[in-house]
């Protein structure tokens, strides 16, 4: 009886095996760049996309109106120039001439208008919030669009260096509707070939790319490999040419490997601890949420350099603001406080709580867990009793959203303009304001920073905001990670741009 059952299973297996092995293989001799990703990207539609890793693939597929350089300066891409007009309430953008989409359609002002409106109105669009300040888009002439706003909006151009600035083929987008992400058609250097979920995304060189002289590969294959060690093993064994987000602990091991190179970039995001100071009633039930002195004591108990050393193997830079000290928008007047346990104890005494206890929620990822453990040990020396609550990531977000936490180890991947790291976190009632801070005078400053187009004046406003946030401590910023890239030493032309995305222009194998 059992035997029969078993042979049925075996027969089914044999048939499938045979069926799977019929067609012969055909190897390609094209020049292919193989990139190992840390995760499988989400949907490849610039309007709907949500993940950081997806943006790495978009860098090959979809050109944007503007791009960033190594110093986060804005440089032209599909746009050639811009100009603020009408009391700075509209932005005129000149579109590059002669650009074609992957389907051969011309990229003109009408196409730009179509894409921006799609970002603004499509159901489920993740760009709607970013582009909310833009009221309407006008086609001035075939090569010029005008974006109209109610008030000047300083972060706008930086937004157009990311997914909001990606232009899709109107014809393809209209034909595909909500399924555009299954076969995106843009105007980037590579066009979409195929995607096997959790296995690979293949793109091939677009012959009519406007800047094709800078493209030196026929194909790029993006392979999501979640385990950092396995990703590195693939690079070492030659199956990959490039990997993103190498584990910090693997860096020393590569020093003696002459076949591989490592690049480090300070991220535009941050790692920090968000403190519930007003998100829910729970803020008032805990000395940390209730009393700014306790938060100051908590911050003084931390040694950021040591946290970077222990939690990240030294691969990061300490920080105390939403942008890194290396960023031009960093407020130098608000320096990183030095660890001072004696002063921390003194502050706790003043606050009348010598042994405050709170729960530190941390997602069950290795980074968050290590940060939580180091923080716990350091704070203990000042008298804090920190209880770590390890929580699965999605669940932790939900608890944060409900205000069901005291403190939360949370990272932000960062946006090129400081506003993207600031507004949604510290302005009243914003979706990412998990701390629940709401100060009208701070809101005024933040809004002023959004309408000020003069960089020097804007930097002055950021200094005031930084001073105010550093006093209130809704988020205790800890450090900024290094994006760690490892790649074969044959690869040249790699540009280290702080947004952590791999630009494929100029990349070549020698």
């Amino acid at each position: 009886m059992n035997k029969l059952k078993a042979s049925l299973f075996a027969a089914a297996a044999a048939v499938t095996l045979a069926a799977g092995t019929l067609a012969p293989g055909a190897a390609s001799a094209q020049s292919t760049l193989r990139i190992g990703l840390a995760e499988d990207p989400d949907v490849l539609d610039p309007t709907l996309a949500r993940t950081f890793v997806g943006r790495i693939v978009f860098a090959a597929l979809c050109d944007k109106l503007f791009d960033l350089d190594e110093n986060l300066k804005i440089v032209p891409q599909l746009a050639t120039a811009f100009e603020w007009a009408g009391d700075n309430k509209s932005l005129l953008i000149k579109i590059r001439q002669g650009v074609k989409f992957h389907d051969g359609e011309p990229l003109d002002a009408a196409a730009v208008k179509f894409s921006l409106e799609r970002h603004k109105t499509m159901q489920g669009s993740n760009r709607r919030g970013e582009l909310a300040p833009v009221d309407s888009v006008d086609v001035v002439d075939p090569n010029t669009v005008k974006l109209n706003m109610k008030a000047p909006f300083a972060p706008l151009i930086a937004l157009l260096t990311d997914r909001s600035g990606m232009i899709v083929s109107p014809k393809a987008a209209q034909a595909a509707g909500a399924n555009f992400g299954a076969k995106p058609v843009c105007a980037g250097p590579f066009k979409f070939v195929e995607r096997v979920a959790q296995d690979r995304i293949v793109v091939e060189r677009f012959a009519d790319y406007w800047d094709k002289g800078r493209i030196h590969f026929d194909r790029i294959v993006y392979l999501p490999i979640v385990d950092a060690q396995v990703r590195l093993a693939n690079l070492k064994s030659g199956q990959l040419d490039f990997i993103e987000r190498m584990a910090p602990s693997d860096v020393p091991g590569l020093k003696n490997d002459s076949r591989l190179k490592v690049s480090k970039i300070v991220e535009i995001g941050y790692q920090g601890i968000t403190i519930n100071i007003g998100k829910s009633d729970r803020a008032q039930q805990n000395p940390l949420g209730k009393d700014p002195r306790v938060r100051e004591a908590f911050e003084l108990s931390l040694d950021r350099q040591a946290i970077v050393q222990v939690a990240m193997d030294g691969e990061g830079v300490p920080g105390n603001q939403w942008v890194a000290p290396t960023n031009s928008w960093y407020a130098k007047s608000v320096a990183i406080p030095k660890r001072d346990v004696a002063k921390a104890k003194q502050l706790l005494q003043q606050a009348g709580v010598t042994n405050p206890s709170f729960t530190l929620m941390a997602a069950n990822t290795s980074d968050a867990q290590r940060i939580a453990q180091v923080v716990q040990a350091m704070a203990k020396e000042a008298g804090f009793d920190v209880k770590i609550q390890s929580t699965e990531f999605s669940t932790s977000l939900n608890l944060a959203d409900k205000g069901d936490f005291d403190a939360y180890v949370l990272a932000w991947s960062g946006r090129p303009d400081p506003d993207g790291n600031l507004f949604s976190f510290h302005a009243c009632k914003q979706p990412l304001n998990y701390a629940g801070m709401c100060k009208p005078e701070l809101d005024e400053l933040i809004n002023a920073s959004r309408v000020e187009l003069d960089a020097a004046k804007r930097a002055k406003i950021f200094e005031q905001i930084a001073a105010s946030v550093a006093k209130e401590r809704p988020i205790v910023y800890l450090f900024h990670r290094h994006w760690l890239w490892a790649y074969t030493n044959k690869l040249s032309g790699l540009r280290t741009i702080p947004d952590g995305l791999v630009r494929v222009q100029d990349l070549k194998v020698n």
Binding site: A10, N126, G181, R200
Partner: protein
């Protein structure tokens, strides 16, 4: 025969119904709001509201179950929210990968497990026996992900004989396809081989002590014929049953091994879906796995019925 079939089919429908309720119900126990998990880093309130409405997340659980079930009955398993692809397409894409991996793993397990089991039974209480037992214990107690990474470091990084991870479709390059699957199949098979070795050993010892084996020896048959023909054949029955059970289990996806070797099978699909709260994918994959299991059981039962006259009475 007709009555038997009707009876068995009659049992399948309530079973599947119960399974569907279980799948749907367990899924709802996952903490966290799927709309927040799916809304991405920005967590734009308008996106969250849109996702809630699209997936009926604000409606009672029985209403959502009704929507899902009526879709399933029409052959629509829903769509992955994360990558916007029909769940059925994803399953069709992953199923051959999982079946191939499971089949290769079972072959590895049988070759290693049965050989070692026979050797240790025939050479009972000798160094061979002890060695086989130690290897079996090692196989059972080695974590798959650790063994996987060690194999990658040795065969891909140090020796460069095999690709470190990934998957190549057999239609693209059969040699590469086998090369990418060897290590994960070995890791999976290795753990099962240990159990199989223990089963083979005890079954062989029992059989080798039986009267007909003594008769065979008395007839003057060579030891080789006694062991292979009279012994092993009879001892294999429970081992093959075990293999079939393990195979069924492998079909539901080998989560850790697939993750380490980046094999795009069911295991990876379902784990990613759970973490991203991609409900439709989880439900679809579990439903398909459960149905396959039930159908294979039904086929086996029908085969027994046809072969075994006693069941027909």
């Amino acid at each position: 025969m007709f009555n038997f079939l009707v009876q068995r089919l009659g049992q399948i429908i309530p079973t599947l119904f119960f399974v569907s309720i279980l799948i749907f119900g367990l899924q709802q126990l996952l903490p966290g709001d799927p709309a927040i998990a799916l809304a991405g880093e920005e967590r734009d309130p308008s996106v969250i509201a849109y996702l809630r409405a699209k997936f009926h997340l604000d409606e009672p659980i029985y209403v959502r179950y009704y929507y899902w079930l009526s879709g399933v009955l029409q052959g629509d398993l829903g769509e992955s929210v994360r990558i916007q692809k029909p769940v059925l397409d994803l399953i069709v894409e992953k199923l051959p990968v999982t079946i191939q991996l499971a089949s290769m793993a079972i072959v590895v397990a049988m070759v290693i497990g049965i050989t070692m089991g026979v050797v240790s039974a025939v050479k009972k209480d000798t160094a061979w026996d002890y060695a086989a037992n130690v290897i079996a214990l090692w196989g059972l107690s080695t974590p798959n992900f650790w063994l996987g990474i060690m194999l990658i470091l040795l065969f891909a990084v140090q020796l460069g004989w095999l690709p470190a991870s990934g998957y190549v479709r057999p239609s693209e390059d059969l040699g590469q396809n086998i090369a990418t699957m060897v290590m994960p199949a070995f890791v999976l098979g290795n753990a099962i081989a240990a159990v199989m070795m223990r089963h083979t050993r005890s079954a062989m010892l029992q059989v080798l002590g039986a009267d007909y084996v003594r008769t065979a020896r008395a007839k003057g048959l060579s030891e080789r014929v006694v062991v292979m023909k009279h012994g092993l054949r009879n001892a294999l029955v429970p081992v093959i049953t075990l293999g079939a059970l393990e195979f069924g289990q492998l079909l539901s996806g080998a989560v850790l091994t697939e993750q380490v070797f980046s094999v795009p099978g069911f295991g990876k699909l379902i784990v990613d879906a759970v973490f991203n709260r991609d409900y439709a994918v989880v439900q679809g994959v579990v439903l398909v796995t459960a149905t396959t299991y039930i159908v294979l059981n039904l086929l086996a039962d029908i085969a027994y019925f046809l072969v075994n006259p006693r069941l027909r009475a």
